[in-house]
């Protein structure tokens, strides 16, 4: 093994015999552009709605729920697609999230949530992952569109003004603390199961 590596190390170190420096530079440059473009295009493809809803787990559960919410249909027609909220926009964070998401391929292959029953059983855990992620990055994906600095409180309802000018302005809370379940239905949240103060509501029997 060591000898193998050594041999290739020597090949790599040796100057090129057959190819000119100009050829290597140009091929390297063009090859780099093609590789980078293909890589990013491929990754952007995994950010499309068509890709996300290509699996019935997404299409029939969470995507179906999204459709009646304001993030999908509203008066002005601006809308968020899956990746707008669930994938960070900055490149390094995006790569990190995509690597994490490779676990979801495992889940798809082994049918972790391939029936509505399995999905319901796992829903709280899956939601908790997202809540924890939003809590940790200060609701970054919300703030990609909803920028606190440009909120006009005078155009908000009184109760929204009260909440935003205290809890949000004081950085005591972040978006997800209050705005859970705005794009999907909430599962039953037992006491203490949410990262913030949505109390475990004891639904009466």
């Amino acid at each position: 093994m060591l000898a193998f590596i050594k041999r290739y190390w020597l090949v790599m170190r040796r100057p090129s015999v057959h190819f000119s420096l100009g050829f290597l530079v140009i091929v390297g440059f063009v090859g780099g552009v093609v590789f980078w473009g293909a890589f990013n295009t491929g990754m952007e493809f995994t950010n499309t709605e068509a890709f996300c809803t290509g699996c019935h787990e997404m299409r029939d559960n969470v995507f179906a729920e999204l459709k009646s919410t304001i993030h999908y249909t509203n008066r002005s027609g601006v809308r968020a697609k899956c990746s707008d909220c669930h994938v960070p926009h900055a490149w390094t964070d995006k790569i990190a999230r995509k690597m994490q998401a490779s676990k979801e391929v495992w889940g798809k292959v082994f049918g972790t949530i391939d029936t509505p029953e399995k999905f319901r059983a796992m829903r709280l855990e899956l939601a908790q992952h997202e809540w924890a992620r939003f809590k940790a990055n200060d609701s970054l994906e919300c703030r990609n569109c909803h920028n606190y600095d440009y909120m006009d409180f005078t155009r908000q309802s009184v109760r929204a003004q009260n909440m935003h000018s205290t809890y949000l302005a004081g950085k005591e809370k972040t978006c997800i603390d209050c705005h859970k379940g705005i794009a999907h239905r909430l599962p039953h949240i037992p006491a203490g199961a949410a990262p913030s103060d949505t109390p475990g509501q004891i639904v009466p029997n």
Binding site: T198, Q201, P204
Partner: protein
Amino acid sequence: MQNRSVMFYVGAWLVATCLATWALVAAAAPTVVTDAARGPVPVMETTKPPRLGNAINDDTRRPRNHETQPPTIPHRIDGYQVDKNFNRCLDCHARGKTDFSQAVPVSKTHYIDRNGKVLEQISTRRYFCNQCHVAQDAAAPLVDNTFKGDGPASAVPARKP
């Protein structure tokens, strides 16, 4: 032979009666079936529904018209999830949450079951808020009415939230 002849006359009479009835029905103008609840639009046609309004969202508490009236909701509740998993109303209005949310707490009576037992959480029979409490549209009344209510003097005053 005698029997058969009688049968023949009976049969002929039946056929004639049927034909006459059909002729009468066909001659009459086709009746248009309407339903009072749908207005003058015939049952077989689609009604033109009125425009959807936006519920009033001014967060100003309205006085009640009589003592036992469930207070109306002074804000929009579009898309609020109220089901066996989650109750979005209680997310702010539950008595445990009002310190944080500054919302009007749910009445204490809503924590009592039908046997008079005081519960830790909202009573089952009070769980579906929208059965009694509704948001309001700024719409003109569809029909005139002369309901006066108890009047402002006895109207339940708005509590400080």
